[in-house]
Subunit: 264 residues, 2 copies
Amino acid sequence: MSNPRYQQIAEDLRAQIETGSLKPGQQLRTEIELRDHYDASRNTVRDAIKWLMTLGLVETKPGQGTFVVQKIDPYITNLTDNPKVPTLYGEVEPSAAGKIEVEGKDRILESTEPQIEIQKASAPVASSLQVKEGSQVISRHQKRYIDETPWSMQTSFYPMGFVLKGADKLIQADDIEIGTVKYLADTLGLKQVGYRDWITVRAPDPNEATFFKLPPDGRVAVFEIFRIAYDQTGTPMRLTITIFPTDRNQFIVNVGQVPDDPVG
Amino acid sequence: MSNPRYQQIAEDLRAQIETGSLKPGQQLRTEIELRDHYDASRNTVRDAIKWLMTLGLVETKPGQGTFVVQKIDPYITNLTDNPKVPTLYGEVEPSAAGKIEVEGKDRILESTEPQIEIQKASAPVASSLQVKEGSQVISRHQKRYIDETPWSMQTSFYPMGFVLKGADKLIQADDIEIGTVKYLADTLGLKQVGYRDWITVRAPDPNEATFFKLPPDGRVAVFEIFRIAYDQTGTPMRLTITIFPTDRNQFIVNVGQVPDDPVG
DNA sequence: GGGTATTTGTCCGTATGTATT
DNA sequence: AAATACATACGGACAAATACC
């Protein structure tokens, strides 16, 4: 009938957090103090704290203490911005040292220089681009920061044929200042007329956890968003996979007629 | 330099899972066997298993053992379906015992009867519907199942004024067979011309964890999607909040011209 | 249905390591 | 360097859930 001891302790602390008795950023009592207060063992108190950690309510800092988590001011990305207008998401590759105003909040967006690889198409990449599995594709990878905190990891895949037909800049490790969308339109006549986003959530892999400074145990999940862009013939011209931590990112989708974004 | 013992053990098991040496659904060796195999204590082995659990790689069943998780065949929801067409998502309230073919897969969609409440608008509800905080709103809550497994929890909020102006069915605890979108158009002349979705991810609360049969420690997150629907004057006419577990749900967003969904 | 063996869950105590102040 | 606080690791005991006979 009754929950285990460590859950009871966790519930008690949780209540204090949710009523505001313990405020965001505030330090909890130490494990020893909590052990005495609840008349339990230190390990049981630690089990309670672990429970609150996977719920995302507290975080521990060795040598310092246990703290109520501060919610991060979220980054909001609109997935349905008109693709003719430069957007944050994938359409434009801003210069490696570029500065952009984000959400009207004077945030600074920075990107690493694209890391280019020629790869053999894995099964999901091949089926997305409608090329044969194992055929060559161009992979352009960038890491992005907002206000110097890691924001997203993005990899775009293009069929190798694009380069052979004249879009050489795709395999140069520089930003394409005008954006790849316009570049492909200019050089190959490929117009992007639409895209499909596919939104999933999963635990981060160790690479991602390190880059985003997430706890390595996977308790903070990441969005994995697949964007397949189509040209005027309905053929896939690009696959872009972007990873965003769920603790600091939210998305907006507009359909039909809606008032202007209230963001900012 | 070297990782702690329990992480090393976790990495070893993780490698076995990812190489397919341990297959989905397969039982791991018991904690006692693993303790002997790794020459560690049982608690250290358990820490390794906990690590793999929050990564979503294994699950434990008391009295039975530890198993590699089976990925659930995901439900895919299109957020940009034409709202004039009945869709799964919020536009139509199917009959409580209704059956619908989902994704061409003959899945059965069931909904509980709407649970109606008259509430005072909380701050987020009030600002979404552009009514005064504390003013009365109608809340219609439904739980939905696909193939008898819990799929989503949905709550729609409408301004109380709609009922006073003649849309009485909003406060009746029955399904509105023609759908609330058409009902409001017929009775009040309110045409839904668009909507905005706002996608967030967070840990489930205890209610949600129970309904979706998620582990209560919050290691499986939930999508929380806010949909604000607008009428022809650009005024919000509905706020719908839907909760989906992230372990069995994915979303599609189409922008511009894209080929038909390959789903199904 | 009952009893027993198996397996994971809870809880304790203790010792030592590591990060921070 | 010392003190503080969390992290890792061990060992043991009993409880609770499940499966099987």
